[in-house]
Amino acid sequence: MSDKAKFFKPVNRLAGALQDGTNRTLREGIRAADRNLTYIAGDCLQHVEEAIARLEQLIADWPADGGSDRLQEFYGISLSIIGVASVVDLPQIDVAAKSLCDVLDGMITRGIEFREPVAVHVGAMRLLRNITNPTDSQHVIDGLLKVRKRFAFDPLVDAKPVGRPA
């Protein structure tokens, strides 16, 4: 392949498929999709509960005086919560899971391991699952975001320069 970039316009098949679709309206589609999501709400809630329980178990197994070699496992579980909690109207747990992913990513990238910031996030998720007052939830989230700021990967500080995009 030549070093010079070739530019051309292919046929947008998606545009054609959308054009050929029936005359159903966007509003009808959104309603049907929302209705479909209510059918799986029970499974979503169970998924969130099980994921938090697995995170709690991993924290309990973390040696008090050492590191955990399971940060990637923490990350995978936390990632699996994002987007699922919102379906069951627990968006604050999504925010906490995203914040935990940021913290874990920061630790994995720098090769460091601290139990406390992870434990704080997992504890907060359990708390957020049970509290109903939005103001209280926001206080918890604000606290997590402070922890996140301290441990998350900071592109201005940590990133290596990358090549210019085509």
């Binding site: 392949m1 998606l14 589609g29 999709a33 990350y75 994002i82 909690a85 085509a166």
Partner: protein, 197 residues
Amino acid sequence: MQADPGSIKFSLDRTSILILDADPMSMSILSQILAGFGAKNLYKCTTIEDAKLAAQREFDLIFVDPGASGDGYEFIPWLRRDPSSRNKFSSIMVVTGHTQSTRITSARDSGANFVLAKPLTPTKISARIGWLGRDKRQHVECQSYVGPDRRFKFEGPPQGLEGRREGDLSADLGNASQPNMSQADIDALMQPRRITL
């Protein structure tokens, strides 16, 4: 002003869609949303191997969740470059809850048309699919990248650098052929004036 969703036609019943997502719950959420919009030709794959097999047929729209390992990002360059691929120009949307910092470059260079952050909602998905349907960006092929043009605006090559596009002109502007405009001329261009129609 936003258009009334009651007057916009939007149906996925003629759209063939492939989903690659290793997480069953996340797959289920996306499938339910797409089914709500009438999607019938929905192929769900949990591994890259399965997705490569499924991709022997043409798809109008492909969703890829790269997963915790980020392996899903490898599927997109395969779709764009492999000689056997029938989906070199298909619309590809990456859906992700979080991208690890070490994977950001892979995400940028994968060749996806769009990255959509979770949580997914029907409104968000439909807006992005509609946007992809209207996407007029050119397709780029070069050694390091194959996929839609990542520049949404083209304002010429970066200052001081030679353009890498075949059609790029030289950055050398040459000497001015006319005298500079006076400040009064420039001010006159900016001044609002009353006109009679």
